[in-house]
């Protein structure tokens, strides 16, 4: 521990003629463009290392204080851009906890499904990057192929591939579209097929195993002391997973296992991630089977009238009486008839009216909806949680992702703090690579799954 933080410089007298300082990154292909490692080398061996981060600091926490509560959601997409949906849900869950809101069951199931799709994407990308950096470019193409199937699903539901902004405080933006279940099942089938191919290609591949096994070892105690969570911690043998330890959404109704490693090396992390993807797909299938039609968001009570009819009436100036009515809208916002569409608006408390944006049919169709929308959007009138603070942890792709939200009682968040899951891992990184070879730095760094967006925020 002592002498661990002495800054490395070339003028260091302690630097004997044997060793040299080498600068790795930030414009290094394997450093994902944003990490700088200063390595002190003796031949090929890493004697000491210093990690410098911050090259992608985009002031998330300051930006979050500028707008209202809903305007933070797009910023959370760009924290962990490999699994943006989990970030979305983590943030809105923190705000919901602060407001004491209970979202509907269907919304919870949708959140579970979308989170798990995101998690598979995350792990796929992580392993893909690792394999590519080890020289297995073919495997990288396979992984990207599998990810593309899942991106298509995400796009189908949210309308965007990556920066989705799908979560809303009180629910989700829109219901799952028609045919989602079938498409998901077929996408999962394709993903499984690809994963099986990859498993055959990689898991017992001599070169791959030699590069990863016994490399980048961290002990259980160190991992805990550094606050490392997620697959990185589980590879050391600790079965900590927020989904099991403190179940949120509806994870307590779903049967899944937590894969645990034993050695804490890069190879175990690879295996844990591979198995977690299988578990995630299991969760998606169970959630799809358990899910029932229902409302996807909390919302005010209203009498019902078909959305298109309401718009027509309003266009003809027949606004009398429309004020008391709420539109029955298509939850997918697509405008086609649905069996479950009548259920979108259950009765709610007046408090909840101050949270969800009204459906577009309402906004355009009647004055009440318009006013409701306007009041929520206008600065100074939007959703305002009570004064206080809340911390909400979710299991992100890389580990425990926590959102700490402080409210001063107005419609703007006073402070939004993210607990980035890969921050502790990077803090421990110098310790992990010390004593290893330079080439192993790349292999270890790949399995860290460092996502600069959430590391530097």
């Amino acid at each position: 521990m002592e002498n661990e933080y002495t800054p490395l410089t070339t003028s260091d007298d302690a630097l004997d003629s044997q060793s040299m300082l080498i600068n790795m990154g930030p414009a290094h292909p394997a450093m994902h463009g944003v990490i700088r490692l200063i390595l002190k080398l003796d031949g090929e061996q890493v004697m000491d290392a210093e990690v410098e981060i911050g090259y992608l600091h985009r002031a998330f926490e300051k930006s979050a204080e500028q707008g209202n509560y809903l305007q933070v959601v797009p910023y959370t997409d760009r924290l962990n851009y490999v699994s943006p949906l989990i970030n979305n849900f983590g943030y809105v869950c923190a705000v919901e906890k602060l407001m004491g809101l209970q979202v509907t069951e269907r919304a919870d199931y949708i959140r579970v499904i979308m989170s798990e799709i995101s998690r598979v994407c995350d792990h796929l990308t992580c392993i893909a990057a690792t394999t590519m950096e080890l020289g297995a470019f073919t495997a990288f193409l396979y992984f990207m192929k599998a990810r593309e199937f899942l991106y298509e699903l995400v796009e189908m539901v949210t309308g965007a591939r990556l920066t989705i902004s799908y979560a809303r405080v009180g629910g989700v933006k829109a219901d799952l579209p028609d045919g989602f279940k079938e498409k998901t099942l077929s996408a999962l089938k394709e993903t499984r097929k690809t994963l099986k191919e990859l498993d055959l290609l990689m898991t017992r591949n001599r070169i791959f195993v030699d590069r990863l096994a016994g490399v980048g070892i961290i002990s259980k105690e160190d991992a805990i002391a550094y606050g490392i969570t997620g697959p990185f911690l589980r590879a050391t043998g600790v079965d900590y997973d927020v989904r099991k330890a403190e179940p949120y959404h509806v994870y307590d109704r779903i049967d899944f296992d937590i894969p645990v490693g034993s050695n804490g090396d890069s190879y175990d992390r690879y295996l844990v991630r591979m198995e977690e993807m299988q578990q995630s797909m299991r969760i998606i299938e169970q959630a799809l089977a358990q899910m029932k039609p229902g409302p996807v968001c909390v919302s005010p009570s209203a009498k019902e009238i078909p959305g298109a009819e309401m718009v027509d009436e309003a266009k003809m100036g027949k606004t009398k009486g429309l004020m008391e009515l709420g539109a029955v809208v298509d939850p997918t916002l697509e405008g086609t008839g649905k069996e479950h569409q009548k259920l979108i608006y259950p009765s709610g408390t007046p408090n909840e009216k101050k949270v969800m944006l009204p459906a577009k049919e309402n906004t355009y169709g009647n004055i009440e909806g318009l006013m409701n929308h306007f009041k929520l959007i206008m600065i100074g009138h939007g959703m305002a949680p009570p004064k206080g603070e809340a911390y909400f942890p979710v299991e992100g792709g890389t580990g425990e992702l926590g959102f700490y939200v402080v409210s001063d009682g107005t419609d703007r968040p006073y402070r939004v703090r993210v607990r980035p899951p890969c921050f502790p891992t990077m803090a421990a990184f110098h310790k992990i690579i010390k004593g290893g070879m330079v080439a192993d730095v790349i292999a270890t760094f790949g399995t860290v799954n460092m996502i600069a967006g959430e590391l530097d925020r």
């Binding site: 911050g54 992608l56 985009r58 930006s63 851009y81 990207m144 967006g453 530097d456």
Partner: protein, 172 residues
């Protein structure tokens, strides 16, 4: 790219003036043609857009069809600097240095809205458009741009490279 008309060529071929397989062109156009189909890019991947860059480069969208699939991670060997993702003030000197190290002719492609204007990161930490630091040839907006938009951008860049021809320095 062929200077003569088709008829002229046919006539030449018929008259056996040239052996079959020859054709004439302007040197500048031939060089432009060569350059535009062998784009060696330096992917300066920093942020979210990198995910879409990966998608574009991989088999689904296959950037290789445009001759731009081969990334060179040495600035000396690269023709086009792909700036993919937000550039913060801490990163700006690094990017400038990479640009300076590239040999002429060189082009810069701003990938994503953060590199074009700063996007919605209008704050203390981010550069408001990389064109404040390096000259930019092509902007691909979008947060992140869809793969189709990127391909469109690459085609436009190719047109620009073709037009530049033999000149080694940029056309202002």
């Amino acid at each position: 790219m062929v200077t003569g008309t088709l008829e002229k060529l046919e006539k030449m071929e018929q008259s056996n003036l040239f052996a079959p397989g020859f054709f004439t062109s302007k040197l500048s156009e031939a060089i432009g043609w060569c350059r535009k189909f062998s784009i060696f890019g330096f992917p300066m991947v920093t942020a979210c857009c990198g995910m879409e860059y990966m998608s574009v480069a991989c088999s689904h969208y296959d950037l290789d069809r445009f001759g731009a699939g081969f990334p060179r991670f040495s600035p000396r060997q690269a023709d086009v600097l792909f700036v993919v993702g937000t550039i913060s003030h801490k990163m700006a000197p690094v990017m400038r240095r990479v640009y300076d190290q590239m040999t002429d002719p060189k082009w810069v492609l701003a990938f994503g809205v953060c590199t074009c204007t700063g996007g919605f990161y209008n704050n203390y930490a981010t550069v408001q458009g990389i064109d404040t630091i390096v000259p930019v040839d092509l902007y691909i907006p979008g947060c992140p741009p869809r793969p189709e938009a990127v391909m469109d951008g690459i085609i436009k860049l190719q047109a620009k490279i073709q037009a530049q021809g033999i000149r080694s320095t940029r056309v202002e």
